[in-house]
Symmetry: C2
Subunit: 353 residues, 2 copies
Amino acid sequence: MMKEEQPLVGVKELARLAGVSIGTIDRVLHDRPGVAAKTKAKVLAVLAEHDYKPNMIARALSSRKTKQIVVLIPKDSPESAYWQSPLQGVEKASAEIQPYSFQIDLRLFDQNERLSFIEQVEALMEQEFDGLVLAPMFRVESHPLFTYCDTHAIPYVFLNSDIPNVNNKAYFGPDLFQSGCMAAQLIKYLVQPSDEILLVHISKEMEMQHHLLRKEEGVLQYMESKGMRQQLHKLLIRDTDYATIESSLQTALSNTAIRLILVTNSRVSSVARFLEAHNHSDIRLLGFDYLPDNIAYLEKEVIDFLFCHKPIAQGYQAVMSLFHLLENNHIPEKINYMPIDVISKENYPYYEN
Amino acid sequence: MMKEEQPLVGVKELARLAGVSIGTIDRVLHDRPGVAAKTKAKVLAVLAEHDYKPNMIARALSSRKTKQIVVLIPKDSPESAYWQSPLQGVEKASAEIQPYSFQIDLRLFDQNERLSFIEQVEALMEQEFDGLVLAPMFRVESHPLFTYCDTHAIPYVFLNSDIPNVNNKAYFGPDLFQSGCMAAQLIKYLVQPSDEILLVHISKEMEMQHHLLRKEEGVLQYMESKGMRQQLHKLLIRDTDYATIESSLQTALSNTAIRLILVTNSRVSSVARFLEAHNHSDIRLLGFDYLPDNIAYLEKEVIDFLFCHKPIAQGYQAVMSLFHLLENNHIPEKINYMPIDVISKENYPYYEN
DNA sequence: TTTATCATTGTGTACGTTAACAATTTAAAT
DNA sequence: ATTTAAATTGTTAACGTACACAATGATAAA
């Protein structure tokens, strides 16, 4: 069952069949120069006929040069532990592909320092590498890198956020809009018609606005389509320290019947801290991302639900997609939306990022 | 970055260090006979000092035989499409490891025929194989297989259900109890204190009772711990045809204020069919497993939520864990509880099994 | 025609491990 | 002491691919 005994042709057998030497076979296989047109045609014919599957084991053993995959993502900062998770995934992938002569070249930039990103980009363009995993947060600043990769035929994939009209081989990350819909659906179950809802964006980065607003659109569209008539307030907090957040929330929550707060990113723990400190245990709280701070409040039931997009898997899959592309010429799906996971106190211990 | 340059000793270097030939090194490494006691001691000393990591790639290439991983799981039947998913995962893994000289030997048994399982087990024990993925639904009948594997040093991993006190290398599947807790938590949000709840078990298999009851325990424990006082009815339906289910439900739903039904397995679509046919759109419905029938009712909002434990990933991960163990000597986690996913109309298109 | 140049093809070694076989040493039997 | 057997150790050819290098053939320049 499931066996399909193939004769398992190798380069040697192919050489015999095509009436050439294994050297020529090798050249054709790797599309190297130095093969006469008609010889190449003959070999390709034999190749097509016998669907040759290279023995990856032998290939890995033989190839003396290791392939480099560059991973260019934000460094994880105390103010946002998010990027620790994709990094974990990258490291897992790294360990797995190491035996096959692949190496990860990790480049971290500071999310808040446009310049640090530019530096890394410029350094990269001086360097040899075979594949690139990129979190293209700085859109315009990334473009030189794309043209560089395109001209050198270096495949690159995106992580966590996507850029349209670029030659990237794949995208691994969330579908922000649908993510908002999901949140709205849970909201539907959690509130009464008379309740009011507060949408909170917390970010000082202009670049990130897109992320948050796209989620908001999802929420709004779902609520409209379902005829949800709850009053919806919005609050944009442009600073991430607790003092600012506290005062903003204090005014926002006065004189309203707000019974549910949705924070559109991972800063939800700050809001949780506020709710706990001010004894607002009657307000439901939803937010994003599996981070230690958030989990702590989930455990305490200050946060009711978190939405998550498998950050570890994002890093792992992005690297592995390049590995499979470079190693087996497996072409990845262009768009890889990560699942929208709903995390609560009950299932978080089992959550796999 | 992330480099860690080791000198990477091989058998050759070891031989030089121990002052013997690589043949002797090889014999010691594999604990083969024909080495004088004191030579062996010397080699072992050198070995301990230089923590030699065999190059698994070279090893795989050298040992010319392809490794066989046997997968012994139920065949998917029309009455329960569940096992199609783990099989999908197995097949994906199969394709991935084929280039590395691994083969999947797929053995399917009939969930309802204890005998068909025993047959497969007996056939297996006549056969050579290097690893085993097993769904140990028939507990006692599996035991001969375990002792066989143990004596032959063949690693085996469990899928979907676990057996304690056995030498399996790993388990991939749900934590049933916690799964029940998760369901109960959602129930908490979905019902009023005055509402009544119906728990429905549908199964004709004795073996499966454990699965269902363990979930029930989870539900009960959570409700108790949260002081949920809703009246809880239970219904055990010991036949899976719609007629039986319909009549059972009809009597169960008469004269009660039941506003929510939790079906403890994938048969929830039958209940959905009933609710739709009898215009019970006021009753919330929860159940298990991402199956086409269930998704159809989720789409129609007859089913509100499904819980799911990544059946495809189960199959994939189980096979891959054996692959990594046999290929790279990577020891897997013993317990791999799959995530408890909450699926709704909004996120099911993004769900990855 | 001879030589130099280039394009094309073939050969052989290496990757690290395995395992069959050969060579050597040691012990036992005569 | 010599022969024979057994135990121990060493040598080497695979495994399938990559790549440097050698060899051949073809073409152009002298």
